[in-house]
């Protein structure tokens, strides 16, 4: 069953057509890899689903309901979480504070509400444990490795029980060992029944974890195939334009 379906989505910024008539589905507990060259429209499409941009045309259905997200907070409330490319973490705050940023656990009655640090430390430690990450809740994000930062960013998405997680280049700019860690984290989300849209430039990552491959070229969808029916050669051809479309 499709958790998210895009129907003829288009987006133009003035005269520039960023997304042209794109349709595809993401099923329950499915990892969809979204590939394409720089400027192909991957991030724009993610931002449309997340509610950062409003599509110029087309319909988005989430859990079979037509949705119109005007702000990121609306998509989050519907059950879509986003891990942004630059991770969007605050360096000067602790891991736990980052996980709970904007959704802090509080005690007391207004105006005497105060933060419940013990609960937040405990809950974030549980989340890191669940993700099998050695991140410590009290450490500042500033001192963390790329893999740990990634774990913090992904733990953020586990605070609520999202149905869909959007990830923009989660494996960019981190070491080989950390890439393996992140891919494990992604698989673990899937094991929990969460659907994932994964944007990546790295072919091995996509073929290692994804169920389906969608390729964009100059804003158009040129491929929508199960991973097992395609190959890295075909994907490369589709991205560069050597193969027109399949």
């Amino acid at each position: 069953m499709a958790i998210l379906s895009l129907h003829n989505i288009a987006k133009n910024f003035g005269a520039i057509q960023a997304i042209v008539d794109v349709s595809f589905n993401i099923d329950e507990a499915e990892i969809v890899g979204l590939m394409g060259d720089n400027g192909a429209g991957k991030s724009t499409l993610l931002k449309i689903i997340a509610g950062n941009f409003y599509p110029s045309a087309g319909v988005i259905k989430f859990e079979n309901q037509e949705v119109h997200f005007k702000k990121p907070i609306e998509s989050r409330e519907a059950g879509i979480e986003v891990v942004y490319q630059d991770l969007a973490l605050c360096n000067h705050l602790t891991a736990a504070s980052n996980v709970f940023l904007g959704r802090e656990i509080q005690k007391g009655i207004w105006p005497f509400k105060y933060l419940d640090y013990p609960s937040m430390f405990k809950k974030s430690a549980e989340l890191f444990e669940e993700l099998k990450s050695e991140t410590r809740p009290k450490d500042l994000v500033m001192q963390m490795s790329g893999g740990q930062r990634q774990a913090v960013a992904i733990a953020r998405t586990r605070l609520t029980n999202p149905k869909l997680v959007l990830m923009d280049e989660p494996t960019a700019a981190i070491s080989v060992r950390q890439v393996a860690e992140v891919l494990d984290l992604i698989k673990r989300l899937k094991d929990n029944g969460i659907s994932i849209l994964l944007i990546s430039h790295r072919m091995p990552d996509i073929f290692q974890v994804c169920d389906k491959l969608v390729v964009l070229r100059r804003g158009e969808k040129v491929c929508d195939k199960l991973i097992k029916h395609t190959s890295t050669e075909e994907a490369t051809g589709l991205i560069t334009g050597a193969i027109d479309r399949v």
Binding site: I73, C90, G102, L115, A125, E126, E129
Partner: protein, 342 residues
Amino acid sequence: MKFNQDIIAKSEKTSLQKFLSEQSFWVTISLAIICFVMYFVEDAFSSKDNIYNIARNFSFIGIMAISMTLVIITAGIDLSVGSIMGLTGIICGLFLDAQYLPQWYAQSAFYESNYVWVGIVAALLAGIILGAVNGYLIAYLNLSPFVVTLGMMAIARSLAIVISNNKMFYEFGPKDEIFFEIGGGQFLGLANVTWLLIFLTILMGLVLKYTAYGRHVYAVGSNKKAAELAGINVRWIEMSVYILSGFFAAIAAVMIVSWMGSVTNGLGYTYELRVIAATVIGGANLMGGVGGTYGAFIGAALMETIRNSLLMAGIDPNWQGTFLGIFIIAAVWLEKVKNKKS
């Protein structure tokens, strides 16, 4: 569950290491050393009166440094605090001095019984409004904090001169002793304003550490985009710190006018420099994300103690600006050296 408890307890740095890496800790140490040296060098320094004076003098700066700390944590700056202090002080004096008020008001029964509180509330409200103007322009119109508050610095000072018509206000009506008691009074050996500073340091310290608002102030200064994506109302947070800054400047103005018993439009002239210096010396980072109210407190205390010590040592007061400037630059330089190490 055991695994959890272990992980929670662990941290990159021990509490002691964290403590030692705080700039405010080292400022406290330097303050202690200066006091120790002065105790032996100059008898008058450690007299009860002098300690009382130092504590009172740095309290006015300290109160403004607390709100300046919040502004600087959000990676902003407020250059207008000195001028806002001047203007709100003049407004306070204007409402207290019957001869400049309309006759129907000055002779009414309401004036007779309430004028002291009207003057104080008017000054505080003016501070909030001036801060809100700063905050709105910076947060909602995306203008640079430096330029907006520089403009407000000129505007507020000029309005203070216009409103006061270059006169000094010093006749504070039939109930002036109530007003003088607020800023001039003392309690348990410390001036009221010093107690107010201590109270605000603790209150705002708790707000920063233990409320969602406080965490959001740090988040905005640390990574504005991340804060926005996390659903924080970034614009309101930014505007609120400037409102607080105007409000605290007005509090300091009311306290200093009531202590001095008079006000001129020169009140608070160049205080923004001393406030920013106290904040930065206390460890707030102009790049945002770092700072605390204890730092503001101790930074203000250190500056006033040094000023007092220099005066006692017989050094020409005209040198004070030079020392002030050196301290600001040294504090920023120290911050840079510290960041490089870690």
